[in-house]
Structure formats: structure tokens, C-alpha cells
Symmetry: C2
Subunit: 201 residues, 2 copies
């Protein structure tokens, strides 16, 4: 039996917020794995940090370095799938959606403002990594080190905000052995809504 | 500066075995995320359980239900990427490779023997799930329940062994901030070897 609800109240979001809260004493509970597709059509997968929902929306915020491979992946295929496993409560969320990349070259002032807010929401220490050498390339023995940064300075070029807009969510609870599938649809008047099914685990 | 070593002694395997050992007191330390590509070209990602290395090789064993979507994904694109984050030691392994699917229809007696060994290596309780209703489809209110299984009975049709043969491994240590990239090559005589680089985190 399917249940339907409007976009504003995504039914999986309440479950996810409860899981985040129940696992918040564990540092790694804000880490999840983000899968993308490379330009050669192969999968890629890495751990990233949950930076909250964009205000008033279901969109998931992730910070990244615009010099990493995932940027090329997302230019080739803008879809990503988050796999978020909560080790304390044995719950898994698979969140599939399109990713919007907001980097320094973005022409929308509102989006650049969101990027700036995300930059200042991170610690000064976490901002320093964007001043380091290009991630993933062979390292030289002598690297310039960046030990300090003006805390009031805005985002550097390498800083990019990713916004994942969920289209499908698969929730699995390994304690109760329950699984729910959530997907989006459009009503006749164009409004986005969520459908929810109980599926076999 | 790159280091080279022969295939038999994959240099990342020693690091991974040490991480598995250091984190073995945590139940979730054998769980990792497996990314594949769907037939529509989009990424897919889910948590699976590490079932050890195939004897004497670097191949990673994963058990799966042949009725799950990941089987369709792997038929479309046989490559997968594991992302394995160890929460105690703050280490991440990204393991990319080709996946060999060994299901009931396999015609190679050696592979069917490997599948049988993998079946009996799992608990009787874990084998029961392969007798359940098709995973991921809407569940009916009344489901036949399978509470018992002859412990000496061989693998059921839905049981499939996946063997991931690593081609590239990316290791990141968040405590020491060190990152190593491992990749495979072929020598003039066709022998597989591993190259290792230190890369920027």
C-alpha cells in the first residue's frame, strides 16, 4: 500500500533526522559514501561529510575541492548515490539524486551566497585544506605548507559546494528488518510529491 | 617516487589486513559500500559484507542475492568500486576492479565449488535470507516465512558469489594525513605488477 505526501514534508527526512540524532555521539556518523560515474562509465566511490540540509529544503550539502575527480565525474553524469550507514542503529539510507555544483565560476549571486555561507560554516582548520596542493596527484617531497588563514577571508577558488537533490531514497533497518522505498513524482499541476512503499528487505 | 612489486604480494593488501585486524572488535568493520553503474548510466551504492579474500589471491569475496539490482548493474558494467572506511583507525580504502559473478548457472565446476564453499562459510541464519521473497519489490502483508533450513543443503538458486579483482587501490589515512595510490600494470612477459605512489591527500 503506497502513501503519498507533498514535497515540503519528505517522509524519509524525518526518519533520517532521527537517525542523525541517535548516532550523533559518534564522530563518523556524519560520514557517508558518495558514488558517482566516471567519464569512462565506471563507478567511483568515496567518503564525504554531511554538511546539513540546505535551509528549508531536502537538499543535502557536501563540501568538496573543485580539483578532485568527482567534479569531472559530475560534469559527465550529474547523478550521485549516497550510501549512509549508521553503525549504532543499524540503519542504511541510499539517497539518489542530481547534484548541483556551486563553484567560484557560478554566475548566480544567490548560489554564490550559499557557497560563502558553507565556507564560513566550516572550521578555519578545515578551510586550510583547500589551500594545499592538488589532491590525488603524486606528492613532491617539498610542499609549501599553509598553517594560517585569515578567518574573515571568503571562499578560495578550490572550494565548491555540492547540493544533492534527492529523487529516490531506500531505507533499510537491520534491527527490525524493515525496508521502505521512497520516490518522487509530479502531480497534474506540476507539484513534486513523494510516494512511499514497504519493500522486501 | 614509485615503487613496484609483483602481483602475488599486492602492497596494499598488507595495509588492509592490518586495518581489518585493528578494527575487528567492531561488528561494522567488515561492512563496506559497493558502487556500481545502472543500465541507465547512473550510479548505485549499497552496504555489503566483506567475506574474505579468495584463497591465495587479492580477490575480494562478497555474497549477494541474484535477484537484486546490483546483478543487472554488473551485467551492464562489470566494474565496481568499494569504499571501506575504518571508523576506529580513520583509514579509507577505495578499491576499484572488475567483478566476476558466480551464480547457479555458472558452467565452470571450479567456480561452482567456490560458490558452494562461500555458501557453507555463512551461518545457517544468514542462508535463510536467500529463501525469502524477492528483495526490493513491494512486500505483501502475508509472506511465507522460512524459519529453518537443512544445514547440510547446498546453495539455493538465489545465492551468488561476487569476486572483485582489484586494479586500483587508493589508501587514505586521516590520522597521519597520508595517501597512497596503487595501480596495476603488465610487464613485457605479461606478468601483472603493482605500482605505488604517494599522492596529495
Amino acid at each position: 500500500m503506497a502513501k503519498m505526501s507533498s514535497s515540503a514534508t519528505a517522509p524519509w527526512k524525518q526518519i533520517l533526522l532521527k537517525s542523525i540524532n541517535s548516532n550523533s555521539h559518534l564522530k563518523h556518523s556524519t560520514y557517508f559514501q558518495l558514488a558517482t560515474v566516471e567519464s569512462n562509465g565506471r563507478p567511483s566511490n568515496r567518503t564525504v561529510v554531511f554538511r546539513g540540509f540546505q535551509d528549508g529544503t531536502n537538499k543535502i550539502q557536501i563540501n568538496t575541492d573543485s580539483r578532485t575527480h568527482k567534479m569531472d565525474d559530475l560534469k559527465h553524469c550529474p547523478f550521485a548515490e549516497v550510501c549512509w550507514y549508521f553503525t549504532e542503529t543499524w540503519e542504511q539510507f541510499r539517497i539518489h539524486g542530481k547534484v548541483n555544483m556551486i563553484d567560484a565560476s557560478n554566475s548566480d549571486p544567490d548560489k554564490l551566497k550559499q557557497r560563502e555561507t558553507a565556507w564560513f560554516a566550516g572550521s578555519v582548520r578545515s578551510r586550510l585544506q583547500y589551500l594545499g596542493p592538488t589532491p590525488g596527484i603524486p606528492s613532491l617531497d617539498e610542499q609549501p605548507s599553509h598553517d594560517s588563514l585569515d578567518p574573515s577571508a571568503g571562499p578560495v577558488d578550490a572550494f565548491c559546494l555540492l547540493l544533492l537533490d534527492p529523487e529516490q531514497v531506500d531505507y533499510l533497518n537491520l534491527k527490525s528488518n524493515e525496508r521502505l522505498a521512497f520516490s518522487t513524482g509530479r502531480s497534474f499541476n506540476g507539484e513534486k510529491f513523494w510516494t512511499q512503499y514497504k519493500v522486501n528487505p
